[in-house]
Amino acid sequence: MSAATQETAIRTGRIARTFIYVVLLVFALFYLLPFFVMLVNSVKPLSEITEGNMMALPKELTFAPWASAWSTAQIGVEPTGLRPYFLNSLFMVVPAVLICTALGALNGYVLTKWRFRGDTLLFGLMLFSCFIPFQIVLIPMARMLGIMGLAGSTAGLVLVHVVYGIGFSTLYFRNYYSAFPTELVRAAMIDGAGFFQIFWRIMVPVSGPITVVCVIWLFTNIWNDFLFGASFASGSKAPMTVALNNLVQSSTGVKEYNVHFAGAILAALPTLLVYIVAGRYFVRGLMAGSVKG
């Protein structure tokens, strides 16, 4: 779906090709530049940034900004660095992704292989929930978390992300399983396998690729979330994105740009790593969430 399926039959001349390469490279520069700036300036001493050129390579290489961003920078009122928030994000994202993927797989299985009257409507309701502006649920969600005793906790964030992630994980598995022959399920029924046996023995073993897609998508989305984190878990339970924003926006003291840049890279690292390791699946997930099935 994403990777090259066939090469175009269109042919281009030499001058046109040179032009094409120039345009493509200029755009590559455009996409790389901000990250290059972050990276370069995160290993410069502050004086070199304020007095020098943002694009220049560091004259003096230092990893102090990274160390500071990780463990000593002032976040809010505490000089804890980003480390505890990084862990908050991790404790939030792992259970949320696991639960959401498992539910998505089961839902997709039911919606394709155990169809019943009205199932498409139910799926439509779930799918629509992925696209709502989350502002519409902020107020009642804050109250609900309060009532459930989960306000300001990582568990509360897990719940929120699971609830609003189910639509997408169900979409992925539903589309994947709908291409999986129903005759296999029928054969297994005749063989005497029940609902869960068919799921475990027949469906799960072939679900590898879509599970990777789903996990990556959920991981990226939940890790990068800011709105829910800022609304439901400020303070010491805040996730990484919120802490980074606090670090960058803090109005007290000198602006330590190098520390901000190091912090931003730290916040981006997990998702970037996933992107580098499994970019193919990442793209597939993006597409499956937008283009037809």
Partner: protein, 298 residues
């Protein structure tokens, strides 16, 4: 059906119920946390809730108030500017890059991930990067001065009239690669025999794209439009990280408006009504799209 009730064994009946039982927790969660909450917010938008929800019905008072606020008008004007430019520029860049990349480019495998990686980043990270990159004091302007272009000026991020365009720049930077991937997938799905037939008919490359390829990409255009417009309406993080809604209120969007009215200014009723308007806007775009998608694959 004379024998049915007697003959249906327990296991078969159970098997008929298990699927629905398995689906029900997810369904219940969605019904409560999505649709229930939407109704709750809708209800609040008709009450005089301030800091805490109240249940005093005030009819359309909040909506009247909302549409009378210059702050809200700023937010929706900004959204109109932002969404239009964001969608148009992303589509233009995405389509251009996709078409160019599709010309049997050496190093496509290198370029594609470079165009796409911003999509893996959080908007907060993107915002931070661009915030300093566009900062006249240390960013691009300063660099140009140091490189000898003394008259270069780029202070949009500090300029009330121009700041909204910096949001567009950062947002385009983040998403245009994704749009490129969507169009590229569309291009790769086009049957090459059609192109060959048109070439034999003597069509130039320009005409080939204008008359055949781009019309065939209609589904990709539609998807891009739906995805981008829904991202635009939901944009919140980027504004917070890049400008914080400033300078002044110059870059407020409905999403930031809702948040600040509800949680900072304690006018929950007005905040709720703005959220309802956001939802209705997105629903107007998404519902027909989802309906069509679900109906085609029964």
């Amino acid at each position: 059906m004379a024998h049915q009730s007697a003959e249906v064994d327990f296991r078969t009946r159970l098997q008929n119920w298990i699927p629905k039982l398995v689906l029900s927790p997810s369904l219940a969660a969605v019904l409560v946390f999505v649709y229930g909450f939407i109704l709750f917010t809708l209800y609040l938008s008709f009450t005089n809730s301030k800091m805490l929800p109240s249940y005093d019905w005030v009819g359309f008072e909040n909506y009247r108030k909302l549409w009378g606020l210059s702050h809200w008008w700023t937010a929706i004007t900004n959204l109109a500017i932002f969404a239009t430019l964001y969608i148009v520029i992303c589509t233009a860049i995405g389509l251009t890059l996709a078409i160019l990349l599709d010309q049997k480019i050496r190093g496509e495998g290198m370029l594609r991930p470079i165009y796409l990686y911003p999509m893996a980043l959080s908007f907060i990270v993107t915002g931070t990067a661009w915030k300093w990159f566009l900062d006249p004091g240390i960013g691009l302007e300063n660099t140009m001065h140091l490189w000898g272009w003394e008259s270069f000026e780029f202070g949009w991020i500090k300029d009330r009239n121009m700041a909204i365009y910096t949001i567009v720049i950062a947002a385009v930077w983040q998403t245009s690669g994704f749009v490129m991937a969507m169009f590229l997938a569309g291009l790769r799905g086009i049957d090459n025999e059609i192109l060959k037939a048109a070439q034999i008919d003597g069509a130039s490359n320009w005409n080939l794209y204008r008359r055949i390829v781009i019309p065939l990409l209609r589904p990709a255009f539609l998807s891009a439009f739906v995805i981008l417009s829904h991202l635009a309406i939901k944009s919140y993080d980027l504004v917070i990280a890049l400008t914080g809604g400033g300078p002044g209120r110059a870059t407020e969007l409905p999403a930031t408006f809702m948040y600040s009215y509800t949680f900072s200014r304690n006018l929950m009723g007005v905040g709720a009504s703005s959220a309802v308007i956001m939802l209705m806007t997105i629903a107007a775009i998404m519902t027909p799209y989802l309906y069509a998608e679900l109906r085609e694959k029964p």
